[in-house]
């Protein structure tokens, strides 16, 4: 079958596509090929470059280099509208239709059938009914779109896109908020469209769905193409290896062995969980110990971190700090107990872009001290200067707005923000994401140093090599549950991969 | 002028005799705009008093400045089968449908204080309003007479830009002083009909006109602005009413207080008694079948220090201004 497809001219052909944001290479010489009538899954962890690739193809972003060919002809869409005119349509996770208009109006918005300038409602409804019947969808097209389930809204969005003469349909995480039944309905629609010769690019985090529906898989990692494979001939374990990577990078060194008997419990979570977010787990964090959280995107890593830090409120279980039961209802509670948290989304959840490096560094300490005990300007300067030097933040100017710093230096400032509070536990969510190689190594070195100084660390990373390099214990997550723990000599990349891949039969979507 | 005198005279003369005989049965619905200003509140109070004087059962509906409330009120009056409807319209258009309903129910409608769009002329019995151009004229005439042949630089505090009352009061005043070469408006700004703005604008006038020494008179489109202007003059060390003449319009109680203190010279009354003439016209119409004129103009009476301002103040202060 592969041979047969290869023989035809591809529907969409992307070659050598590159895109940088500042010093960060979001896409590096990426190739991507979509054939007519195939369902093609685009996979990768956060920051792999999936959404950048989609944005470039649909004209939202410009490209630095590379070509995009549609049916052999080179295209250069500069907006979503231009891409749509070429026949490339996108349906996002959050359906971008108007819920307060009727289904028919949504289908024909901007191109309503008119007579003498007057919209012909009856005609529009007839056409809409007929159109949706083609998708095996028999609903009242006069009713407001918002009254229908998200799955139906997705099908309506797809119907609209395809009716606008789309030949390439891009579905960006359409199943994230659907239940099993709705996913089936969506998949029926996708198969019907593929049978009609439409090429579908499908982005999802749910590997089961990938194996359910896709013909072919393209994997990206860190902005690079890792490989393009036929789904049927790609074992799950190998796919996960492709997604998470296993070649050792320069950041890897020998694992630092700790005398575990010396480490005392720092924070203990028992049967801790939150419905719809993460299944109850037991977690024991010790001084001078690094616990790594490994799992695919959407497996519950960030959810665990947020629960530990009080950013989300647990609805089951108990938490204890140094053996004493505590309440963690808000980040304030957590900060009071000496916790710190560097979130994954640095820009939206971490830095305060217009404030200076100094202000960003002292923020958590100041919040901990309270409004009435301000740090004097001298104290602030001193703290900022100390950490700028200690962490080698560049440029070494504490009065520069943090938004002007590179990603790696922003991350160091966020680390400094927490180190200034002299925490007992630090939660780091993807601390090396989007950071250039040099800063990457420094941050790994820092994590080790902090650990040596008796800090308890909980680190999330998609970089398995990293996790292997610094973790004393690795908790493996799958489908929003903690499914296993690896310790000491048991920690290596292949064991982690095996734990992640084991038994993928539980449909992830049913949890939502 | 003469007609109005006669009407007023008729009202005064006839009320005590006719009222007890006929008006006992009369029920009148009054759709009032709301309580947007002190004058409006006074109008409501006076209307109640005038109705009580004639033993008319007056039902007042407060529309809170909304036309839809007024339309609702009129419909409910029609449903109740009142003998007549008084309407103080909040806007001038959009009344045709509801007034037709009243007409079909054979209930006469009398407009108070404000007129409506000409297309509805046959939909109401009469309109009792003041002539704001005339008010400006009375003010201007008084100033011309008082100043005599002296040169006189006038500063003017206008009402809200775009308000028809402001435009009319300016027009009437301009017409009156145009006949006198020695009267000249040197500065004119809007004080938005409020005390605060009246004071602020007057402060700047005083500074711009050499500390107020070259100002001979202030004309304000309403008394509230004048009350503010009087404060500004006093704070600048000037003596309002003596160094600078004042004339304004409305005749609210506070201007009489200033007059008693010798700080204001003249005001032209916008009478809050619109209901009185309306009730008289209504009585005549009901009893004798006399169709009133389409427009009953209320008197624009001039008050000066010679008119016993203390008495005027006492009679007005309880009206709700």
């Amino acid at each position: 079958m592969q041979q047969a497809v290869e023989g035809r001219q591809p529907l969409l052909e992307v070659r050598g596509l590159s895109k940088s944001f500042g010093i960060l290479r979001a896409l590096d010489q990426v190739d991507f090929t979509l054939h007519a009538g195939e369902i093609h899954a685009l996979l990768g962890e956060n920051g792999a470059g999936k959404s950048t690739l989609i944005k470039v193809i649909t004209g939202v972003l410009s490209r630095d280099a590379g070509t995009i060919r549609l049916d052999g002809g080179e295209i250069e869409p500069r907006s979503v509208k231009e891409a749509l005119a070429e026949g490339i349509a996108t349906v996002y996770q959050e359906v971008n239709l108007l819920p307060n208009l009727s289904v028919a109006q949504n289908l024909y918005l901007g191109r309503q059938p008119t007579r003498f300038g007057i919209v012909r409602d009856g005609e529009m409804q007839r056409r809409a009914t007929a159109l949706l019947a083609g998708y095996d969808l028999h609903i009242d097209v006069g009713a407001q779109l918002g009254h229908y389930s998200v799955a139906i809204q997705h099908v309506v969005a797809i119907a609209r896109a395809v009716d606008l003469s789309a030949r390439v349909l891009i579905l960006d995480e359409p199943t994230a908020s659907l239940d099993r039944h709705e996913v089936d309905m969506l998949f029926r629609t996708m198969r019907a469209l593929a049978a009609r010769g439409i090429g579908i690019l499908f982005v999802t985090h749910f590997l089961d769905q990938v194996y359910d529906i896709s013909d072919r898989i393209t994997v990206l990692r860190n902005g690079r193409l890792i490989g393009e494979r036929m789904t049927a001939s790609l074992p799950r374990l190998e796919l996960i290896q492709m997604m998470l990577g296993r070649e050792l990078s320069e950041t890897t060194g020998e694992r630092v062995a700790h005398d575990r008997s010396a480490s005392t419990p720092c924070a203990t979570f028992t049967n801790y969980g939150k419905r719809g977010s993460i299944a109850p787990f037991d977690l024991d964090l010790r001084h001078g110990e690094v616990v790594g959280l490994a799992g695919l995107l959407g497996s519950g890593r960030t959810e665990t971190a947020r629960l530990v830090f009080g950013a989300d409120r647990a609805d089951s279980g108990k938490a204890a700090v140094e053996g004493k039961p505590v309440r963690l209802h808000s980040p304030r509670d957590a900060v009071r107990h000496g916790f710190g948290y560097c979130p994954e989304e640095r820009k939206t959840d971490g830095i305060i872009a217009e404030l200076t490096v100094r202000e960003n560094i002292v923020l958590a300490l100041q919040a901990k001290r309270g409004i009435t005990r301000p740090l004097s300007r001298r104290e602030q300067d001193e703290i900022a200067a100390r950490f700028v030097k200690l962490l080698d933040i560049r440029p070494p100017d504490p009065e520069r707005p943090i938004g002007l710093l590179s990603g790696g230096n922003q991350q160091k400032v966020l680390l400094a923000r927490w180190l200034a509070t002299e925490p007992r536990l630090l939660v780091l969510d993807e601390p090396t994401r989007g950071i250039d190689v040099g800063a990457h190594a420094e941050i790994i070195r820092l994590i080790r140093e902090l650990c040596d100084r008796g800090l308890a660390l909980l680190v999330i990373s998609s970089e398995l090599d990293e996790i292997v390099a610094y973790s004393d214990r690795v908790v493996v997550l799958r489908d929003r549950a903690h499914v296993g723990t690896l310790q000491d000599d048991g920690i290596d990349v292949s064991s982690i991969l095996a734990a992640i891949a084991a038994d993928g039969s539980v449909p992830a979507a049913a949890e939502a | 002028m003469a007609l109005k005198r006669i009407l007023m005279g008729l009202a005064l003369a006839s009320a005590p005799f006719i009222a007890p005989v006929t008006a006992a049965q009369l029920t009148v619905g009054f759709s009032q705009i709301g309580s947007e200003s002190g004058w409006r509140a006074a109008e409501t109070t006076v209307s109640k008093g005038e109705a009580a004087k004639r033993s008319v059962n007056l039902k007042i509906a407060d529309a809170q400045q909304k036309q839809e409330n007024q339309i609702k009120a009129i419909r409910s009056f029609v449903a109740q089968g009142v003998d007549a409807i008084f309407l103080a319209p909040v806007v001038s258009t959009g009344w045709d449908a509801v007034l037709k309903e009243a007409k079909e129910a054979k209930i006469p409608v009398i407009l108070l204080d404000r007129d409506i769009d000409p297309s509805g002329k046959d939909l109401y019995l009469t309109a009792v309003t003041s002539d704001s151009v005339h008010e400006g004229e009375v003010a201007g005439d008084w100033l011309a007479k008082t100043v005599g042949d002296k040169q006189c630089s006038i500063v003017e505090l206008q009402g809200t830009v775009g308000a028809s009352v402001a435009a009319n009061r300016k027009k009437g005043f301009d017409t009156a002083i145009a006949k006198h070469a020695n009267l000249k408006i040197v500065r004119s700004q809007t004080g938005d009909f409020t005390r605060a703005k009246g004071k602020e604008v007057m402060e700047s006038f005083i500074k711009a006109e050499g500390g107020g020494k070259t100002i001979c008179a202030v004309y304000a489109h309403n008394d509230d602005m004048m009350v503010g202007a009087i404060q500004a003059m006093k704070e600048a060390g000037l003596k309002p009413g003596k160094d600078i003449l004042t004339v304004s319009i409305d005749a609210v109680p506070d201007i009489f207080k200033a007059m008693v203190a010798g700080e204001a010279n003249a005001t032209v009354e916008l009478t809050p008694n619109m209901a009185g003439p309306a009730l008289d016209a209504l009585t005549a119409y009901k009893d004798k079948g006399t169709t009133p004129l389409k427009w009953i103009q209320t008197e624009s009476k001039l008050y000066t220090a010679a008119d016993d301002p203390q008495k005027a103040y006492d009679s007005k202060k309880g009206l709700g201004y």
Partner: protein, 327 residues
């Protein structure tokens, strides 16, 4: 870097000076000062004196806007507090009248803060409620009339003076000082700027945002209540229909002219007051100019546009590029 970004605040102070100079061109006596009844008297004093209510509103508004909020109700709060102060002035001692008026402001602020911080209603909608209802409350207090009073004690707040300086100017200066001390003397300023700049990140850093937001709305309403007392004292009466009408817009404009973004974050108290003075300098200039009042709003809009363009970073970037291109 080929060009120097304009120093923060320079644009506003320059604009104020330029407008004052234009005022001087319009009216030759603009900078003349004399003592009248022991009080400084002149157009320049008018700018400060008449600008006082908006300056007070701006002092509260700037904190609200810094948290990425907005308070549309300040004009209505002015009307309420003015109505209360005027109603009590002749029957009670002035401290009682002022305290009750400010107390009403406090309640208004708590209400706004509750809606925004606890119920999570968008600030523009939450404060719109009080903007509409508040004026009605004020009208209920005054029964739709202008409530006048004669108490010279309360009148001092509007027309009194100390050392020749008008009372409203002193009150603004005092409020500026107190606000500055509270905000910059404690950690509040930093935490407000952090919360306004990025609420999620601040919350994840342990900043207690809720209480802080309630506090800034309370402070904003208190400033508005004080402005209401001044406005009532100035005309020795409370005009519930007109007191503070549309002043919320002037206050927001003052804050924006003062360089604080409506998207929250960095703020400056002094520049907000400076913004209020720019607006008033313009108003006074227009009144002195003798132009027909129909031009007032057009002139005002043009000047505001120029001031905002002056401080637009994009424009200064364009200018710099232009210079570079020529060099």
């Amino acid at each position: 870097m080929a060009f120097q970004l304009p120093r923060r605040g320079l644009a506003q102070i320059l604009a104020l000076i330029v407008i004052l100079l234009i005022d001087r061109m319009v009216s030759s006596q603009f900078f003349d000062l004399r003592l009248q009844d022991g009080r400084l008297f002149g157009s320049l004093i008018d700018v400060f004196n008449r600008g006082a209510p908006v300056a007070l509103l701006a002092l509260g508004m700037v904190l609200v806007i810094a948290t990425r909020g907005i308070d549309l109700s300040v004009g209505a709060v002015m009307a309420i507090s003015g109505a209360i102060a005027a109603s009590l002035a002749d029957s009670h001692a002035w401290p009682v009248a002022v305290a009750v008026a400010l107390g009403a402001g406090l309640l208004c602020g708590l209400w706004n803060g509750f809606l925004v911080a606890v119920l999570g209603i968008q600030p523009i909608v939450a404060t719109l409620i009080l903007m509409v209802a508040g004026r009605g409350v004020a009208q209920l207090i005054t029964e739709g009339r202008i409530v006048t009073f004669t108490s010279p004690d309360l009148a001092w707040f509007g027309t009194g003076s100390a050392l020749g300086i008008p009372a409203p100017v002193l009150i603004v200066a005092g409020t500026l000082l107190v606000t500055g001390l509270v905000v910059r003397g404690s950690a509040l300023g930093l935490l407000i700027e952090a919360a306004g700049g990025n609420a999620r990140a601040s919350e994840l850093s342990g900043v207690g945002i809720r209480l802080m937001i309630v506090a800034v709305y309370v402070w904003c309403s208190l400033c508005a209540a004080l402005a209401g007392v001044i406005a009532a004292a100035d005309i020795m009466g409370a005009d519930a229909n007109n007191a503070g009408l549309w002043l919320e817009l002037d206050a927001i404009l003052a804050v924006v002219i003062g360089g604080t973004s409506l998207f929250g974050g960095r703020f400056s108290l002094i520049l907000a007051v400076c913004g209020a003075l720019i607006i008033q300098a313009m108003n006074t200039g227009i009144l002195l100019s003798g132009y027909p009042p129909e031009f007032n709003l057009v002139v005002k809009a043009a000047v505001v546009l120029v001031v905002l363009l002056l401080q637009s970073p994009r424009l200064s970037g364009l200018v710099a590029n232009f210079r570079k291109a020529r060099a």
